[in-house]
Symmetry: C2
Subunit: 445 residues, 2 copies
């Protein structure tokens, strides 16, 4: 069903047909269909949905729609939503809502829930604690398989994942995990202890979400337990939330590499002022940094006035240097992010970039020399100067581009800062120095 | 256990202790520990592992280790590995092995398997077909819950995922899905038909992996069914393989955006020549493209010789333009990749970038004007020329950077090409034209 059909059905008051069509749709698609619509229509359809579907659709709504719905519904309806919402979605909701609606939410929760909400709101942003949910299945190792399955049957529907169950001891310490798969394929009377895995991989509430995503990618888990400092079970993180984290981390790297402060907000939802603020600081730093480059040109003014044509090649040399350096730094930054390259590889990277840059530099310089001689007709000495500079520039840029991200990592900075824009500014200065040195010695200026 | 401890245990022939330590490790970690070691040590430890663990470790080995092990083991051992390996891992293996080992693998498979292998090898790279595996659970809608659970218990251990089961009709057409969760929490005597979902979301064997990854992200699935043109069930794709796809797609975008041909091979594993070939084409294109910029400088030679100091600001203006454009194009390219921005948003983007660039341009120009007057002391007219050019450059760059990725998408090209390097080359020319126009009119040259 698309927006057009939906609006037609509403206009013609064909509600039964509408309900029918909605019942065939996935909850994510319903939310997507309703998100751009006006609030009173969203509310109308929201109330048409079966209760359990409505809660799930609600969790996929934009925060504006969520706020409007909380504003419009009764306390009883809100209580139902809050009871059914997974805990991590509820925390996300509270973080997004304005103060008056947070109050409405909190007055509709029990004291225990409020305590738990407070605890969860305290976890640092981007930590494992801020990603986890509390709806997981706990088992005891003394249980038999059939007892465990009965327990899951009794409580299973309200748990976010039942595919991995967690075995805890009497102090709530995480002892082992057991998959629903093992439970289903094992004999009914085996004890949990016989089929559980006690070499559990887990994370701490304060671990960074990037670490957590790395573990999911490495092991291919569906869920990961989160424990506190005393290894007490506090929650689980599920793979669907990790896909969002992976996308978000990649987006942040893209932004940093293009000289912006990273932002989690969507482009179209961000205000013009927010976006401008995200972009100005690095542009200013790089603009002031380019003063050095200008200084070198000013210093060699007489060389340039003697052979004015040399100026015409400055943009090409600067761009080629910048592009060569970006290529190398991008590969290294990405390799560090995916874990393929580590700090110890610095010498390998250096040696590799040295050889690559020799091939790339000589290829570009040869093409350029022929072009300078035959097309631009700038004479042998100028062609030679430009081509020699090209070889040196490409080599320097690639080595600087390859090494700086690793140095940044070594200094516990984000390697993504050492990308195109910053490398370009650094390499520009070097390029011009080389250019003028070669020019003055070849032309005896 | 780390490499040091492992080598010590082997040297001192403390094999029982070694086995014990290995049994506590995750298969992924064992493979990671063995991957850098010499082949005879890998083989020694490989044979020490329990058979089922060995097969899983094998699937995580580097292709060199896999080849060496297939070379060294008996046909009987190989047959065991092939039987236990998931089908998608087997296809990956065959694609990586040299011809003589592929022969050894094929002679150890049954005729049916060979037929299926051939069919799978024909799916295009990066298609849903090339990602899927055939180990899934099939159910019939006439079954009861208890019958289904018994069926899963009987065959479950050899299936890659049993958490989603697929209901097919007598023509093998996909009818519905039913989750193990529903099976476990439902009454034993309910029929599958009562608890199954028939609004199944599925993909076709020829769909692109980016589409598939998009569906996983949107709906948070653990597995997705793959059907042929007649909607007959042919396989499933699991979420762990999709995390690899997401990472790979992001890496390809990073590479394209840094003016490289994308490559799936790891940096450290690629030869110098391969890496050079990946980088040269775009550098050449952009180098030749910069000829236009040089042409403009050559054309305005007399302006430059009259006021030589103007040359000193060319690098700063070019870099700032390039950086401003990169910021905008990066946000738009990424937004298109994550699905947040679509083609219809082009006017919204234009209007947004216009307003942002006004703020950013005026801010940078003001700082630059003060710096020019107080620090560089280049006089009022030059400061004004440079600052006015800055405003125009930033605005043009941001609008070009915002719109070109959308145009590329419209022309069915990859938007990631319209990133920093290409935008820089385009914007350089515009920047210099504006600079010289403003200079000649302000200075009456």
């Amino acid at each position: 069903m698309n927006e057009k059909i939906l609006m037609d059905l509403i206009e013609q008051k064909r509600y039964i047909e509408l309900k029918e069509k909605l019942s065939e749709m996935n909850e994510v698609d319903i939310a997507e269909l309703l998100n751009p619509l006006e609030h009173h229509i969203t509310l109308l359809i929201f109330r048409m949905l079966p209760k359990n579907v409505a809660v799930e659709v609600f969790s996929y709504f934009s925060s504006e729609h969520q706020a409007d719905i909380i504003n419009a519904i009764t306390d009883k309806e809100l209580k139902y939503i809050l009871d059914e919402l997974f805990f991590d979605d509820m925390i996300d909701l509270i973080e997004e809502m304005p103060a008056n609606l947070v109050n409405k939410i909190l007055t509709n929760s029990t004291q225990d829930e409020r305590k738990l909400i407070n605890q969860f709101l305290k976890y640092p942003a981007d930590s494992a604690g801020s990603l986890m949910t509390i709806e997981y299945v706990e088992l005891k190792k003394e249980m038999t398989v059939i007892e465990a399955l009965k327990h899951i049957k009794a409580i299973g529907l309200s748990k976010e994942t039942i595919y991995t169950c967690y075995v805890i001891d009497n102090n709530r310490k995480l002892e082992a995990i057991v998959s629903l798969r093992s439970l289903v394929v094992s004999d009914d009377n085996k004890s949990i202890e016989d089929i559980m895995h006690d070499d559990v991989i887990y994370v701490n509430t304060h671990d960074d979400q990037e670490t957590v995503a790395g573990i999911f990618k490495k092991y291919g888990f569906l869920a990961l337990p989160v424990v506190d400092m005393e290894r007490r079970m506090t929650g689980i993180i599920t793979v669907d939330d990790i896909m969002d984290v992976m996308e978000q981390e990649a987006t942040e790297d893209f932004q940093r590499m293009a000289a912006m402060s990273p932002s989690e907000e969507d482009y179209l939802d961000s205000s013009v002022l927010t976006l401008a603020k995200q972009r100005i600081p690095w542009l200013l730093i790089l603009m002031v940094g380019a003063t050095f480059t200008g200084g070198i040109i000013a210093k060699y003014e007489d060389v340039l006035s003697a052979v004015v044509i040399l100026t015409a090649f400055i943009p090409m040399l600067m761009d080629t240097g910048g592009n060569s350096g970006s290529q190398s730094s991008t590969l290294i930054i990405r390799g560090l992010a995916t874990g393929e390259i580590s700090l110890e590889d610095i010498w390998k990277v250096l040696w590799k970039e040295f050889r690559i840059s020799l091939i790339v530099g000589i290829t570009l310089a040869s093409v350029n020399f022929i072009k300078n001689m035959l097309l631009d007709r700038v004479g042998f000495i100028v062609s030679l100067t430009v081509s020699c500079t090209l070889v040196v520039t490409v080599m320097v840029s690639k080595i600087v581009g390859g090494v700086l991200p690793l140095l940044a990592k070594r200094l516990k900075m984000d390697p993504a800062i050492m990308a195109g824009p910053l490398i370009t500014t650094i390499v520009d200065t070097l390029t011009l120095m080389v250019y003028f040195k070669i020019a003055s010695s070849l032309m005896h200026l």
